[in-house]
Amino acid sequence: MNPLPPPGTPGYTQALIADDPIWLTIVKVVAVFALLVFMTLFMIWLERRVVGRMQQRPGPNWNGPFGLLQSLADGLKLAFKEDIRPVLADKAVFFIAPVISTIPAFVAFAVIPLGPEVSIFGERTALQVADLPVGILVVLACSSIGVYGIVLAGWASGSPYPLLGSLRSAAQVISYELALGISIIGVVLYAGSLSTADIVSAQQGGWYIWLLPVSFIVFAISMVGETNRAPFDLPEAESELVGGFHTEYSSLKFALFFLAEYVNMVTLSAVATTLFLGGWMAPWPLSLIPGVNEGWLPVVWFITKMFVFLFVYIWLRGTLPRQRYDQFMRLGWKVLIPVSLVWLIAIAVLRVLRNEFGTISAPVVLMIGAVVIVVAIVVALMLPDRTEDDEDTAEPPVVGNYPVPPLDLTVPSSPPRRRRAVSSGSSKETAAVGTGQKEDA
């Protein structure tokens, strides 16, 4: 067995996990699985309660304390419902689609470091199922496979609305995964490693949210797009596409899609925490206390940070209306990707400068900043102002308390009298007035 590299260096966690006995790996896998399923149940409850509060209604409050058992009851009910398969469905693909969408969601969580080195039954290990040298790519790969579930579900259902949903989903993923990947590259540039454990330990000096704010914003936006959550829930837009890709699904298969959506939310929140919020490290004032980043306590910090992201997910859903499809695509291709490309080049240039010339002195930074601001102002001045069209801005005249029509209102001429329909046997009975007309004929 290779000797362990010293703690804190890249590859330490990897070596630490590599000599886990098999029982420990199994324990970890089961624990992560249980955590994700539990988080799903809890998130459904939390979402309904929080959105309920935002809409000034109680939300589920009947089963268990604070309605906590509601999602458990719903889940059991869902499992016992009849499983319906449409006649036109493609049998094999229809069956396998929910599985494809669920499994990667769970797998991606394996590379998330939940905590530092701990001892479980006398065995030193890290709180992480696996630490690959390319850990963060696992997350991207899993999310790109998981989308197949959604796309295939829509296609295999054999009806138009799910197909539309899956078309949207495919386009959405292709466009938003680019922005997601580019924003991750910024972090990788600074951490110097693709391994999630190394990224966390590289943030000892400061979280990347402060160092790479643009990457963080782009990541946070694409993360919502990637999980199909409001305001980007176009593949299942229930006001446009009935249920979107899962319209034809029922029973356990539908439950799997539900599970996948929430597990994806949890996983991506965990990834965002790992990449930008310092993973399991304690937040600033607490981090001054010695020993706070050791043992099992960091799991608490990790879960807390994760819940911040999860709450924002819920908050967004309770606040923002769904975007129109073309607006969504425009945001992805014309805003997020160019912004993150420019940002990526900027930080790469900064890195090179720092490597070549050592640390940059503060006056140089200020001068560069001043130049950038001046250029931005000049560009802003050169852009033409949007002309305000002043029609329809006149207030309607008000007499007393009643709005009255303007004095120069032209009453439209009467429309030509409608042709009476030649009575046909197939004409449908309409409401009373309509029938009256028919009787009259």
């Binding site: 493609d90 390319v134 999310s143 899956s166 078309l167 292709i174 029509p405 009453v411 429309p415 009259d440």
Partner: protein, 265 residues
């Protein structure tokens, strides 16, 4: 060069799966099934790379080929339609012959390359310790010209596709949302519109509420063909329909607040 046991096991599991994926792609009837078989092949190739201790390459294969390129394929297949079947009519003349020749040629090239790598002793390239860094170093130093050429080709191809797509299409005058709403309200919906005339105090503004003539009967012109009118009971007292040919003295009737659509006095 020897292969470790783990590598051998991985190969003998993943190799047949990849092969099955390829065969399935060729023989599947349905275009989407074909694409899915190809996805299987790509996935197992990715895992093969990982087994051969090239995790970066493996995951990139999965992300790029499975995640992006095959997703584009599936997207296009869905756009074409679920029931679109393959046409057996040869569109390009000599396509089959050309395809056969090129296919045999590529097969020959591949066999030659594989045979050479099997028989000739592999020059022991010194592998960099870090997978990702090694690839990055090679790509941006030694092979930078090839990489730039390939990316230029891709960009030209993309631009060409865009140009072809928009070539025959005149630049549409896109109306703003506001303009469209105004146009719609002044268009076919105008006659059903319930804008009240001067001096009329409206109590109902719905398109579904028919206008009433001075005698309290419903003006047939105000009934929409596409919307079911309000039920008779809800309109209250007299809602008998006016006779079609009748001329009405249609001075403004304020009871239900509708601009009467007959001739204004």
């Amino acid at each position: 060069m020897t292969t470790s046991i783990g590598e051998a096991i991985g190969f003998w599991i993943l190799g047949p799966i990849a092969l099955a994926g390829g065969l399935g792609m060729v023989f599947a009837r349905n275009a989407v099934h074909s694409a899915l078989w190809l996805v299987l092949t790509m996935l197992s190739l990715g895992f093969l790379y990982m087994v051969q201790s090239a995790p970066f390459l493996g995951f990139t294969q999965i992300i790029v080929y499975t995640g992006a390129i095959m997703m584009l394929f599936v997207f296009v297949l869905m756009m074409v339609g679920r029931d679109a079947s393959d046409s057996v009519v040869e569109v390009l003349r000599g396509q089959r012959v050309a395809a056969a020749i090129l296919g045999v040629g590529i097969a020959g090239l591949l066999v030659g390359a594989v045979a050479r790598s099997v028989t000739a002793s592999v020059v022991g390239a010194t592998l960099p310790t870090q997978n990702t860094g090694g690839i990055g170093l090679l790509v941006f130093t030694r092979y930078v010209a090839a990489l730039e050429l390939a990316s230029a080709l891709i960009v030209v191809g993309t631009l060409g596709a865009v140009v072809y797509t928009f070539a025959g299409r005149a630049k549409r005058q896109t109306a703003s949302q506001r303009e469209r709403v105004v146009a719609r309200l002044q268009g076919p919906l105008e006659k059903y519109g319930s804008r009240s005339g001067p001096g009329v105090f409206a109590t109902a503004d719905s398109v579904a509420t028919p206008a009433l003539l001075p005698d309290g009967s419903v003006a047939p012109e105000s009934l929409s063909e596409i919307i079911e009118a309000t039920a008779r009971e809800r309109l209250g007292h007299q809602t008998e329909l006016a006779h079609a040919g009748d001329e009405h003295d249609a001075s403004a009737h304020t009871d239900h607040g509708h601009r009467v659509t007959g001739s204004q006095a």
